[in-house]
């Protein structure tokens, strides 16, 4: 295994940052800085073209946070400039003081700054930054060409991207440093009959390096078969059905239903119905759900969040009872609840919000084949395309590309695509009657807050059997 190095740039700036924080600590009630140096590389293979570029996650910069008389402000900048730390400290102070002068700004309890000095360096098997680009592009080209037959599958594209995350957090009493790599890869295919096109994909992800591509290569045959079946896909007769959600779908149900719904900035804004249900039943006895950057190793794992809070693991629901939420520091201070290490930013230049990390249902004790055998008339749903939360009114929307019909406990061979799944969250969770004994997390793509503020997360868990409205 190859241990990831800390950013040379951030290591070099550390003494300067410490000096700026020391100087500013006399000017504000609280002061901290988060420094980021996330580098990355993307490789793509599309018909007739290969390309190399940097993914959207690449960033390098700093965000200073200050508190004075309860008010909180932030100033983000791409560089520590000026002839000396003292000079730049004056620039930062000027920006923060200007913002803190706003008369309508809210007042918060003091931001915590208990002593903590810690660091983390992740490990991978194959270093993508040291690999030969030609070999990577050749593998991606081979993968996409394997499924493109020109008759059924008319086009395919493949992509691999990796990001070396490196972040430093410094406050008067904290000094934290973390560096790790995550990767994700995709294979998309388009099947066509006449003017009708159908698409499906396979994603792989993890805090891994180039070794991830081997997992993608193994998925080519199943995608080829699936694309062919989608050309005969039917429309689902609208109605409520028994459904079995695969781990990606069930994880997204957890994510959308009670992940976003327990982000405590939603509590603070009065936007979360979950507040009324703390300590109350929201699902069947089989429902236990977690969120945490600690405890599992996937794309949402880290040592500390973007506010300098150490990662934790939060049990959100235990045996159907809602226990609590996941917090950023401002909403935690406003509500008087614990900080859970969920204050995350899209980049140094973005605000920190309460965000998920790795969100999942705990596994149960059923076998997937036994779950299928109990379905009278329903659908096995997979290949998630999107999900959306409704924290105030507890609607749920999941869209997927593949539904496989089950009648009397057996697959009929009929496939539906796409499938819109909806329902009222407590009804869907109360209806969970079986949970499989396997467990799988996936962290491809990104999670948004509303329609922006993208963060790497993972979700998943077991397969679950419940009831949803399909259309």
């Amino acid at each position: 295994m190859i241990q990831r190095p800390h950013s040379v740039f951030l290591s070099g700036e550390k003494p300067t940052l410490q000096e700026i924080i020391r100087l500013l600590s006399t000017r504000f009630d609280y002061i901290s800085v988060l420094g980021t140096d996330d580098r990355g590389i993307s490789y793509s293979a599309t018909p007739g073209e290969t390309r190399t570029y940097e993914p959207m996650w690449v960033q390098r910069g700093f965000v200073f946070r200050a508190q004075k008389a309860g008010k909180i402000a932030e100033y983000a900048c791409p560089i520590i400039g000026g002839p000396s730390p003292a000079e730049f400290a004056r620039v930062v102070e000027g920006e923060l003081e200007r913002l803190l002068a706003a008369p309508t700004a809210m007042s918060f309890a003091p931001l915590p700054d208990e002593p903590l000095v810690e660091e983390f360096r992740g490990s991978i098997e194959e270093d993508p930054f040291a690999a030969d680009p030609e070999a990577i592009l050749a593998r991606l080209t081979a993968i996409r060409e394997r499924i493109t037959d020109g008759k059924i599958v008319v086009m395919a594209q493949s992509r691999y991207e990796c990001v070396d995350v490196s972040r430093i957090f410094i406050s008067p009493h904290r000094s934290l440093f973390q560096s790790f790599t995550w990767s994700q890869a995709y294979l998309f295919g388009v099947a066509r009959k006449g003017q009708q096109s159908k698409m499906s994909y396979r994603p792989v992800s993890g805090r891994k390096g180039l070794e991830l591509l081997r997992s993608l290569e193994l998925k080519v045959p199943e995608l080829t078969q699936e694309l062919a079946s989608l050309l005969d896909a039917v429309k689902i007769e609208p109605g409520e059905y028994e459904v079995i959600l695969d781990p990606d779908m069930s994880g997204t149900l957890a994510h959308e239903a009670f992940g976003h719904g327990v982000e405590t900035d939603m509590f603070f804004k009065g936007r979360a119905k979950a507040v009324e249900y703390l300590g109350k039943r929201v699902g069947s006895d089989l429902v236990t759900m977690y969120d945490g950057a600690e405890g599992v190793d996937q794309c949402g794992s880290f040592l500390f969040d973007d506010e300098g809070t150490r990662a934790t693991k939060t049990k959100v629901i235990e045996a159907g009872i809602l226990l609590g939420g996941i917090s950023d520091s401002l909403s935690a201070l406003a509500l008087g609840i614990p900080l859970t290490g969920n204050g995350r930013r899209e980049a140094y230049s973005h605000k920190a919000y309460a965000r998920m990390t790795n969100t999942y249902f705990a596994p149960g004790d059923s076998k997937v084949e036994d779950m299928i055998a109990t379905v009278k008339h329903g659908w096995y749903l997979s290949r998630l395309s999107s999900g959306m939360e409704d924290p105030r009114n507890w609607g749920i929307q999941l869209l997927c590309m593949v539904g496989k019909e089950i009648v009397d406990g057996k697959f009929t061979g009929k496939v539906a695509s796409p499938v819109v799944c909806s329902g009222y969250v407590p009804d869907v969770l109360q209806a969970i009657s079986m949970v499989s004994d396997d467990f799988e997390l996936a962290g491809s793509g990104a999670c948004g807050k509303g329609h922006k503020e993208y963060a790497k997360v993972s979700s998943g868990g077991p397969c679950i059997k419940t009831k949803m409205r399909l259309g």
Binding site: I41, T46, P47, G48, E49, R51, T52, Y53, E54, R60, G61, A73, Y75, A76, C77, P78, I79, L100, T104, M106, D132, P133, E134, L137, M155, Q157, V190, G194, Q195, Q196, S197, M199, K235, P238, F268, K269, G270, R271, K273, E276, L330, K351, S385, S386, G387, R392, N393, G395, I396, Q397, L399, S417, P418, V420, S422, G450, H451, R469, L470, G471
Partner: protein
């Protein structure tokens, strides 16, 4: 300063002679942004952001079997990168580019813009007045300065109000240069606000979420954005469960109507056609369903470099190709392909460039005609999704209006699904048009044959 460092690094790499950078493109972006986060009338937090970044694309040529190839790689360069880091990053990009062997294409040379963009209204406002002008316009409907479109009895019963609102205003300066001698710069004001409105109902508070992008302090447009949602959230408070309906036309409006038109626009691009992601071909009739037949409302669509009020407006595309208003679809026939110039070259069609915006001609039905007979009009979804390749769409409805021929009532829950490929020949668009996120297009589209899932009787 950084530009000189980058160009010096390019010259140094070429001087070494190991791998020659045949061409390059450098885009520098400087952003200064103000951000305010409101929870009701209070500000949760204020933020100021300065960003500087450079994007460098290097092109490396090669030959094999008498054919010329071109590879490319793009890297980001930050102002904190040292000279040695810049040289290392460019060196890695050159190495990566030398490993791609795509068909050759040329970059645009020096040329003048074909359209000029007028300055934004933000230029005329003092720095401290800009955010306040936006805040007051967005909050005006709640404050009663603008009438909500719902009836007053509904408003007093449900008390529509803004729960929270985020406001961003960026001043973005972009400089473009390439190895062919093309250089230009532009200044863009990019505004964005997302907001949550709420109202009281017998079941507790209900909410709606929306957002708006803008490049001008257009008070009327901003007021309408929050005002219309405040009126609708009052209706959501009174909405009944969506019944099971069939054989009723569905009216999609606003951003969802735009998404339908965007499917045609996206499938008319050189990139989609070259990669075969699109089933369209130049000159083909693109409104025919598999069963054939003429379109009920033949489509006329233009690619637009500029639409007043939309921040994506630009006189040049990402390659530096000058953009000029171009008709893409005429009477349902695909007349011109727009999109990245490399794919135009590879397809052997005329270069038109990649456009940020589009417009669609007025349709055959007025909104009044469209709504004279029974319909279902969803106005807020959980997350409307239309697949840009397959044309399949679907979403759960948070608020819809159902007109049964006698009474129009708000309904909630349930979902719709369908496919543009199946509905494109029968879709009818409204005569009235409006500015959406990336287009000027008909305000509404009438669709027959959409699948509807209800939750009530």
């Amino acid at each position: 300063m950084m530009k000189k460092t980058i160009l010096a690094a390019i010259a140094a790499i070429n001087a070494k002679g190991e791998a020659n950078i045949a061409d390059w493109r450098l885009v520098g972006t400087t952003v200064s942004r103000q951000e305010e986060y409101f929870i009701r009338e209070k500000t949760e937090q204020l933020r100021a952001v300065d960003e500087v970044r450079y994007s460098l694309t290097v092109y490396v040529d090669s030959e094999a079997g008498g054919k010329k190839f071109r590879g490319e790689a793009t890297v980001g360069i930050q102002p904190s990168h040292t000279k040695a880091e810049v040289e290392a990053k460019i060196g890695q990009a050159v190495f990566a580019a030398s490993k791609s062997k795509n068909a050759w294409f040329d970059l645009p040379g020096p040329t003048a813009a074909k359209v000029s963009l007028p300055p934004s209204g933000f230029e005329g406002l003092a720095a401290d007045a800009r955010m306040e002008a936006l805040r007051s316009a967005l909050y005006a409907p709640e404050a009663g300065a603008g009438a909500l479109s719902g009836d007053s009895s509904t408003e007093s019963a449900t008390k529509p109000r803004i729960n929270s609102l985020e406001l961003f205003l960026s001043k973005e300066k972009k400089t473009f240069a390439n190895s062919k001698g093309l250089e230009f710069s532009d200044l863009t004001w990019r505004g964005y606000s997302e907001f949550v409105v709420e109202a009281d109902s017998a079941r507790g508070p209900v909410e709606l979420f929306d957002d708006i992008e803008f490049s001008d302090p257009d008070e009327a447009r901003l007021r309408d954005a929050t005002g219309s949602r405040l009126a609708q959230v009052g209706d959501r408070a009174l909405a009944t469960p969506m019944p099971s309906l069939s054989d009723i036309p569905v009216i999609l409006s606003g951003k969802e109507a735009e998404d339908l038109f965007a499917w045609f626009f996206g499938n008319s691009t050189t990139s989609a056609i070259f990669t075969k992601a699109s089933p369209f071909t130049l000159g083909a009739y693109v409104q025919a369903a598999d069963k054939g037949g003429e379109a009920a409302d033949p489509l006329d669509m233009w690619a637009e470099p500029y639409l007043r009020g939309l921040a994506a407006s630009s006189p040049f595309d990402a390659d530096g190709f000058p953009l000029e208003r171009t008709q893409v679809i005429q009477g349902g026939y695909l007349r011109n392909l727009v999109g990245p110039i490399r794919y135009a070259d590879w397809l052997g069609v005329e270069r038109k460039g990649s456009f940020p915006l589009f417009s669609v001609s007025p349709g055959s039905l007025t909104l009044a005609d469209m709504k004279a007979k029974p319909y279902l009009e969803p106005v807020m979804f959980s997350d409307f999704r239309l697949d840009p390749v397959t044309g399949d769409f679907g979403a759960e409805m948070r608020l819809a209006y159902w007109f049964d021929g006698e009474r129009r009532r708000p309904v909630t829950g349930g979902s719709i699904s369908g496919s543009v490929t199946e509905l494109r020949s029968t879709m009818k668009r409204s005569f009235e048009r409006g500015l959406a996120t990336r287009s000027l297009c008909p305000r509404a589209v009438l669709l027959r044959g959409v699948s509807i899932t209800g939750i009530g009787r």
